[in-house]
Amino acid sequence: VALRGSINDAAGAAPVDVFLDTDGPALLETFPDGFDRKFREVLQADSLRQALSSDIAVHRDRLSIDELATRIQAGDLALLLIDTQLMYGYAVPYWVLAHSVERGLVIIDDPTDSHTWGETWVDAHEIPMSLESLDRMVAWGDDGYRGVTFIRHP
């Protein structure tokens, strides 16, 4: 949420809203109980408090992929929390940017090009993806929670 706050500070008149349909801490699956995990849980709870007291809208319902596409079509940008399994062949949580819609497919940019696979920026840029694939990809964890941050078009 600190990140989201940073976006909000920058976007100014085009503020941010967040969809995250899990009540617990996010992205801490690899941290066993202990200081490292507790520390991050405290930070996340604090970030949530800050968000709730700001003009960042925090939605705890699950965003549908149709709604995602509709908002991108309308000009919003979206940071998507993805599971890389579909595109990389193994599961890691990651963020990509969804920025456009073409012929009903969402166009994303992935900030990683996999150099040792012979990829270049050409692979990671302007990636069209069907709504069905996005629906599977934009979910993380055993429960498949979905995290999306919109930067609203002014």
Binding site: I7, T30, L77, L79, G89, E102, D113
Partner: protein
């Protein structure tokens, strides 16, 4: 000029005939591991001679095909036409599969695509290794309507504080770059990424 013969075949590895035509240096590049990417090699003949070849790759679950490498025999008359024929075949195959885009990358001394409809993509921000020395083109199989943002990768070796990274992206003055720059900070608390992302070139790793 010899008319282009029908597509001979497509397969997923560089066979000895193609390797002999490419030479060792190019063969090594064409045989480079492609991880989970799906790859196809398309070859075309002029008479009995191998005249042109195309390597295409695609990320799973996406609706784009990339022309990763092309080759034509410069000593065979008509090899350009054979290459064109192969590219047509690639484009038709992509369309049949439901792709909406065919991309094309060319390295320093490669030809850009000669086919109508390919447009030059915006020069990426020089960030990760894959943003250097490669030009990118895209053919939208139906005319595209969206404005292309510039590409920005997570920079190598960057552990910049969010505020620093952010102010740099902000100065670029583009919403796309702001957002993609910020995705880097979002990922910064998930353990050892040299393990998590083994496919990223260790010598130009994001995570060192």
């Amino acid at each position: 000029m010899t008319p282009p013969s029908p597509l001979a075949t497509s397969f997923d590895h560089v066979d000895d005939i193609l390797a002999a035509a490419l030479g060792p240096e190019l063969t090594a590049l064409w045989r480079m591991p492609s991880g989970p990417q799906l790859r196809t090699i398309w070859v075309g003949y002029s008479g009995a001679d191998l005249a042109a070849a195309v390597l295409t790759t695609r990320r799973p679950a996406t609706a784009a095909t990339k022309v990763a490498r092309t080759w034509r025999a410069t000593d065979i008359v008509g090899s350009d036409a054979v290459l064109d024929h192969l590219v047509d075949t690639v484009i038709n195959d992509a369309r049949d599969r439901g792709d909406i885009a065919v991309k094309w990358q060319s390295f320093d001394d490669d030809l850009p695509p000669q086919h109508r409809g390919f447009i030059t993509m915006r020069t990426p921000y020089r960030s990760a290794a894959g943003t250097y020395g490669v030009r990118g083109y895209v053919l939208w199989l139906n005319p595209a309507t969206h404005a292309e943002p510039p590409y920005y990768a997570q920079p190598a070796r960057s552990r910049a504080a969010p505020s620093r990274r952010f102010s740099r992206a902000k100065s670029a003055g583009h919403a796309g770059s702001v957002s993609t720059a910020l995705t880097g900070t979002a990922n910064s608390n998930f353990g050892d990424r040299r393990v998590i992302f083994p496919h990223v070139n260790p010598s130009a790793s994001l995570w060192r």
